[in-house]
Symmetry: C2
Subunit: 250 residues, 2 copies
């Protein structure tokens, strides 16, 4: 079972959009997929038209099992654990307990999917640490901009700490360049810099800025469903193939 988190404390870089569209693409390749929303904003759930009843909060604090909170999405093979603002409370309730980094890992240890994708909030706190500790891999979405580049040192630092302290099998799946606009000098320059500096660690697939991707959430469907022929959807489909083909190398 591959468990992949989408993490970056920089806000608005496409964590949710990438988690939702990759989960959908991989599910359409006949893999059994679960998407867990570890962000109190709950954007991953609503991107799939799933309203939060009980969700990630109840799962984490042990008030419900995975089977109780998992919801079937409209996408075949894709199940979702939605979240809501009450998830903020999980940190306050669990932060002083022993093994607080392992709550999510323990709560999903008995389940059986081919892939689990986890969306995380724009922070490096308790919820993101839980996501990383439960994962086999992490994808770091980032934009081709200065603040994203600056913030990279912190998310990669947290990744190394979690791997050393809590989860030695955690692996960096890659940096994913999102909302790229190759028409601008900044976009081209930044992409070149990032590829030069991080080489293999950057996915070959980059995701272009594409209005259909931004429109899809208001229709409650993923971008790859909303308009499969759009450049954004095609890029996420290519990314799905890249992620699945990586499986063979493992």
């Amino acid at each position: 079972m591959r468990i992949i988190s989408f993490c970056n404390q920089k806000g608005g870089v496409g964590k949710t959009t990438s988690a939702v569209n990759l989960a959908t693409t991989v599910a359409s390749a006949n893999k059994r997929v679960l998407l867990i929303d570890m962000d109190p904003q709950g954007n991953a759930g609503t991107s799939l038209g799933v309203r939060a009843g009980r969700g990630t909060y109840e799962l984490l604090i042990g008030k419900a099992d995975l089977g109780d909170v998992m919801v079937c999405s409209k996408v075949p093979n894709l199940h979702v654990v939605p979240s809501s603002q009450n998830l903020v409370g999980a940190e306050i309730e669990l932060v002083s307990k022993r093994g607080r980094e392992h709550f999510l890992k323990d709560r999903i240890s008995k389940t059986d999917y081919d892939y689990i994708f986890i969306d995380s909030p724009p922070s490096l706190g308790f919820l993101t640490i839980n996501a990383l500790t439960a994962s086999t891999g992490v994808i770091v979405p980032m934009q081709c901009d200065f603040f994203s580049l600056e913030g990279l040192v912190h998310i990669l630092g947290t990744f190394r700490i979690v791997r050393k302290e809590f989860n030695p099998q955690l692996h960096l799946e890659g940096l994913l360049l999102t909302m790229c606009d190759s028409r601008t000098r900044l976009g081209l320059y930044m992409e070149k810099e990032i590829r030069q500096h991080f080489g293999e660690k950057v996915f070959n697939t980059t995701i272009p800025r594409n209005i259909k991707i931004a429109e899809a959430p208001s229709h409650g469907v993923p971008g790859v469903v909303f308009d499969v022929r759009s450049p954004g959807a095609q890029a996420y489909i290519a990314l799905g193939k890249e992620v699945i083909s990586y499986e063979k190398k493992l």
Copy 2:
């Protein structure tokens, strides 16, 4: 003294960009301005080419006074209190103390500026609550997209709670529409919806998506300095006039 925070738990909506460019515009209108970075990412400081030495963390926990951590920026009349990742520690150290919401308010109570602007992180936790409690007003930057609209209920809910519990004088300066692209249907539709729903509470000035604004941080200067003639800079200048003219109505 007007103290204005930029808050929204939704990530990447232009909180930092708006705080930096508004602080610069208001400082160029001969007002004495202080910009405080309450986000551990430290993007407001680096947007002005200011590296963090001691900063917001030392100020909050009482290891330094405002005078020790304040730095002059290259922009006349604009001082900055930079931040860095150690700011994350302030919450852990202060969260169990009495009056924890008032630490920032107390630390800046004896100072004298015309305007203080405060950038906050993409969350509704301790740092944002401190910023709101210390403020006379709050600006909520948001993009014209579905997730921003969905998240609005939470930031406005937090605003009401802080006003009721900690800071009765807190006032909503307005919703600021950023990175607007009036060429897209989504952009036009969302702007219409937001203005219909929130009326007067939305600034007349909207900020267009403009590459010069995104390029400016890598040069360590605000967008309004990097390319004053650009549409993005002109919009922030117009916003500055709107915010200052509001002063007269107070």
